[in-house]
């Protein structure tokens, strides 16, 4: 097994996927979860780059189809990041924290009288 450029960066991609997965699962801060998601994505795309490089034909260069997909995927990741950051900032503005834990009460409250008077605001407006 020769460690060519495709293998090296493919392995780096695999590592980044693992690190990103760990970050998404184990890091408690939502902003860093977003960051970890981006790491995971870029790792998977780097593996895709290795795949494209493996399929390189002499005189033709790497397979362009994975490259196009990676570009599309990067844009989608950016859109995801923007949406999550927007949600996080709004949550912070509304509640003063970025904790994603459900409020301590709702489950028990659900058994008696949930404070959901306003839950239909969208409908009732």
């Amino acid at each position: 097994m020769i460690l060519d450029v495709a293998a090296v960066f493919g392995l780096a991609g695999a590592g980044a996927v693992g690190l990103g997965l760990f970050g998404m699962l184990a890091n408690p801060r939502p902003l860093q979860k977003v960051l970890a998601f981006n790491l995971m994505g870029s790792g998977a795309f780097l593996m895709f780059g290795a795949v494209a490089r493996r399929a390189a034909a002499p005189g033709l260069g790497p397979d362009p189809v994975p490259h196009a997909m990676v570009i599309t995927g990067l844009v989608v990741s950016f859109a995801a990041t923007a949406l999550i950051v927007g949600l996080l900032l709004r949550l912070h503005a509304v509640s003063g924290s970025t904790s994603l834990k459900p409020q301590p009460g709702p489950r028990r409250a659900a058994r008696s009288t949930p404070a959901s008077k306003t839950s239909e605001r969208g409908d009732a407006a």
Binding site: A6, G18, R29, L35, L39, S42, G49, L89, K101
Partner: protein, 312 residues
Amino acid sequence: MTAWFDVGLALMALGLAWRAIATRRAFDSTVAFVIYGLVLTIAWVRLGAYDVALTEAAVGSGLTGALLLGAAHRLERAPADEDRPSAPLRALLAVACAGVALGLGAVVLALPQVEPLQAVAAASAAEATGLLNPVNNVLMAFRAIDTVLEKMVLFAALVGVWSLAPDAAWGRRPGRRFPPAAEGPLTLFARVLPPVGVLIAAHLLWVGADAPGGAFQGATILAAMILLVRLAGLADAPPVSSRALRLLIVLGPAAFLGVGMAGVVLAGAPFAYPAAHAKAIILVVEFAMLVSVAATLALLVVGPPERAQAAP
């Protein structure tokens, strides 16, 4: 020699990735992530993927970095009362994630040296569109539906971000207001750099037909310039209720969809281009997308309207 270079680069990327998820302060991990993106740009160049390298530099590192840096700044004082897994659980997760990484690594090493079917096909089909850049052929012709859907994803994200505005701020200008700065080096910089950026964006769009580049990469540069001008307080975004702004945002996707449906009549299939004018049509669509995408990307970084009073 180059092998060592690659290995060093890969290790650097992994080290930065580790720092990005392991550091406590959001700001530090964001900086690590931005640098990671720059390292990846070089990696993509080494893999011969110049279009991807441009995109990674512009989006993966540049705009995502700007977005995350801004958020890290504003969330700095947020209390971290999170559901942090216990140490044994973290160890378990770490082992499992390492397993996933090892498995994927094994797959990478087992990748077959496949026949470059698609590369050959893409190169031989390139005549049909008149574009010589294979990646742009894939994006604009062979997999046009992916590109349309991707633009709609950006659009949906913008609609979503705007919908997060407080009720009182709806219809106003997006984001915070940056007061115009006193004359100084920063203002000068924000005046001098954008024309250069516009030139580079136009250059990327134009060469994108035949060489790495294209509408999206150009749009990212434009978006960065728009943000720069806004940061320096030289201009503010138009209010979200502005119909001109909304038209600008949908111009690109609508043009692509319109041309795609016109293809049914003109070229016999949806998203087909009439062979004689394929290149001209693609360039027109790309120009429309350049404008729309630049506006959308910049507005995504700016965020929802949040000023309750109308800006002066």
